[in-house]
């Protein structure tokens, strides 16, 4: 579904991704871990198409199409979803109107007519229930005055509504208390299927107790320095990142 080859990117002329290789297939959940400043969130931004990030080398195929060639909105329409680390507030735009527009755009791209009011309402109710999202928040202005936890849950609610094939969760667990973490994780687990895939970016192992990944990758200094299964996450929890940093440094020296 997603193939990243030798991806290099910079922001404000500073190299932040230095050759990422990653393949994600349908039905898989990949966790990307790493210390602060290792490039995790940058990778998410590059994939979603944020303008301030410039790809200098490498390629990304998404459903066999050149992802880097697409506008951010086309990436979303192709089935890519980024759950933002810091969801922005948009006063005056109601959550429900925003979702209606987004869903209509994505359906339109695929040649489908927009859902009528009744169908939309039914879908919205069903998904609210699935991800335990407060019905009152649905009718409020987009993220305006939401607590940190409510914003993150709104991201998961949007994910449920838009049914993307690939979802990237950018530190969705940061700033969540244990109950919110549970609700968010349960939501994701319910949405997991053999046809979609997830990339979960996180600093801590905690989230992975709830959402069990198939693969774990450690990102350090703009590169994936180690990949493994869920046991790798446990090892990281125990030993921290320092031993990997050390290892990466030695490797760099020998090269």
């Amino acid at each position: 579904m997603l193939i990243i080859k030798n991806l290099h990117a910079e922001v404000e002329e500073k190299q932040i991704l230095k050759g990422i290789n990653l393949q994600v297939n349908k039905g898989e959940v990949h966790a990307i871990m790493g210390p602060n400043g290792s490039g995790k969130s940058s990778l998410a931004s590059v994939l979603a198409g944020r303008e301030t990030f410039h790809v200098t080398q490498g390629e990304v195929k998404f459903h066999d199409k050149d992802l880097l060639d697409m506008s951010p909105e086309d990436r979303a329409r192709e089935g890519l979803f980024l759950a933002f680390q810091y969801p922005i507030e948009i006063p005056g735009v109601s959550n429900v109107n925003f979702l209606k527009t987004a869903l209509a755009e994505i359906r339109g791209y695929r040649g489908l007519p927009p859902l009528d009011a009744k169908e939309f309402l039914r879908l919205s109710r069903e998904k609210q229930k699935l991800v335990e999202f407060d019905a009152q928040l649905v009718n409020r202005s987009l993220n305006e005055g939401f607590s940190g936890g409510e914003k993150k849950r709104n991201e998961i609610f949007q994910l449920a509504m838009l049914e993307p094939s690939l979802s990237i969760l950018d530190e969705t667990d940061s700033g969540l208390d244990i109950d919110a973490l549970r609700i968010v994780s349960q939501g994701v687990n319910k949405l997991r299927s053999k046809d979609n895939a997830f990339i979960i970016i996180t600093h801590y192992q905690r989230l992975l107790e709830y959402i069990v990944p198939d693969f774990v990758h450690v990102l350090y200094n703009g590169r994936i320095v180690r990949s493994g299964t869920k046991e790798l996450a446990l090892e990281l929890e125990e030993k921290g990142y320092d031993w990997l940093k050390e290892e990466a440094r030695e490797k760099a020296e020998t090269i």
Binding site: G92, T101, A102, E105
Partner: protein, 481 residues
């Protein structure tokens, strides 16, 4: 910042949709302004002596007054002698039916989306169409007459209802109010007149459509609306003009009188030609609009959507004289390219327990300058008066400006006056967030703008809310690349 620059460029490149000129034979008074000009206009309109005298008093007041200097922009020099003060389509006397109206004129209004034949007209909306200096046609006049409602051109009202005109004209905006109001008193040519009798709820929207066509003319119309006790009327005006390199002056006066328990809702969708992207040409929209809640429990509500004009300069106001009377002002003002808006309202609380509400939403793009200027005045007898003001500014790009000048004068310590103001910018982060959900940048901006102005557009009659929304999206179309 790539996005923002494209925003500005695209907005700048958007063409004005109503810039065509109607080629029709006109009677045009040569440019110039003196007593003879005024006598000519008055005679042309076969006015009674008292009205001529009133005009001449206005002219004297005009000559004594100086152009204001307090506004938040540099007023370009205006040569009042270079303007023609009367231009009317050449035709015989009065039109008795639409069949007699020049087809070219009907086609003009049709092109503007204002069909004047009642079969084609928007159901539930009666229209008075003003072309340069005169009213071309008024629809549904007879139907309204059955209810005792008078809806006609100002000129017609002078002939047929002189007692009403004499009683109320200049009673809210005196002939000497300000220099442009004085000029209007002297040379006003036509406009709309509305009278709603006691206890009548006007069953349809009344609407006037103003069109400036002829070069080097000014449009000086006068609108007078009287809602007698316990009556209700909703009135709407719309305006457009051809694209020209010269500036044209539009100095109108609107007077509203709401007697006890009456309600007047006055809505404006203003789309005069704004000038080109370098600020060349465009209409100077210098208008005096004021209403008085004369009786107890009266209500006047102004709603304006201002997207056009090179300079918009007006403060639709309410004098809250009757006890428990209510004044409202809802405004969306858009400035882009080199457009300037200095607009707001004045609420004069005189009666007890009077209430006012002001919601102003400014949108600035390109190099547009948008100022909100408002006065809330509470008199010594206005016990328990209340005002709420909310004044928001939205900026698109970083070359535009938003300014707020709220004035509060209270002489009564039982009054409550609240003022809230915000300034925000459509951020790239907001647009990217919407992009990441499959919404392209243009739709994203429209979504944000519509959310921003919703509170004001909700005040417009249904049909016009849709029109206004369309106009806003056209005005700001191509806002992002």
């Amino acid at each position: 910042m790539g996005n923002d620059n494209e925003i500005i460029d695209n907005i700048a490149n958007k063409e004005y949709e109503f810039g065509f000129v109607t080629d029709i034979e006109m009677d045009i008074l040569p440019a110039g302004l003196n007593e003879d000009t005024i006598r000519y206009i008055s005679e042309k309109k076969k006015e009674p002596e008292w009205l001529l005298e009133w005009r001449l008093k206005g002219f004297q007041a005009f000559r004594k007054q100086k152009l204001p200097e307090w506004q938040n922009f540099t007023l370009p020099p205006i040569d009042f002698q270079k303007i023609s003060y009367y231009a009317a389509p050449r035709n015989k006397k009065k039109y008795n039916s639409l069949d007699e109206v020049d087809p070219e004129l009907l086609a003009t209004f049709e092109k503007l989306g204002i069909p004047l034949s009642e079969q084609k007209a928007l159901a539930g909306v009666a229209v008075d169409a003003v072309f340069d200096s005169i009213s071309v046609a008024t629809t549904y006049k007879d139907k309204l007459k059955e209810l005792g409602i008078i809806f006609c051109s100002f000129g017609e009202a002078v002939q047929e209802h002189p007692e009403l005109v004499k009683k109320y004209v200049g009673s809210v905006v005196p002939h000497s109010d300000n220099i442009f109001a004085a000029l209007n008193a002297a040379v006003f040519s036509d406009g709309s007149f509305v009278y709603i009798p006691k206890g009548v709820r006007c069953p349809m929207e009344l609407s006037t459509y103003f069109r400036i066509n002829t070069e080097n003319t000014g449009q000086f119309e006068r609108t007078l609306i009287i809602a007698d006790e316990g009556s209700y009327v909703s009135y709407l005006e719309g305006c457009t003009a051809p694209m020209r390199d010269e500036n044209q002056l539009h100095a109108a006066v609107v007077e509203l009188i709401a007697l006890g328990n009456a309600e007047i809702k006055y809505s404006t969708v203003q789309n005069w030609y704004p000038g080109d992207k370098d600020g060349k040409g465009g209409i100077y929209n210098f208008v005096t609009k004021r209403g008085i809640c004369k009786g107890d429990n009266a209500k006047i509500s102004w709603t304006q959507v201002e997207t056009g004009s090179a300079i918009t300069w007006k403060y639709p106001s309410v004098i809250l004289q009757g006890d428990n009377s209510i004044g409202e002002f809802y405004s969306v003002a858009v400035t882009r390219n080199r457009q300037i808006a200095d607009t707001g309202t004045k609420m004069h609380h005189i009666g007890r327990n009077t209430r006012s509400r002001i919601i102003s939403k400014g949108i600035s793009a390109g190099e547009g300058q948008n100022s909100y200027r408002g006065l809330v005045q509470v008199g010594p007898k206005a016990d328990e008066a209340r005002n709420f003001t909310q004044c928001d500014s939205l900026l698109i790009g970083d070359r535009c400006g938003a300014h707020t000048f709220p004035y509060i004068e209270s002489k009564n310590n039982t009054a409550t006056v609240e003022h809230e103001a915000t300034t925000s910018k459509i951020g790239e982060d907001q647009i990217f967030y919407l992009n990441a959900r499959g919404i392209d940048s243009e739709k994203a901006v429209a979504l944000i703008i519509n959310g921003y102005v919703r509170e004001v557009l909700n005040q417009l009659p249904m049909e016009f809310a849709v029109e206004a929304q369309k106009l806003l999206s056209i005005t700001l179309e191509g806002s992002v690349g």
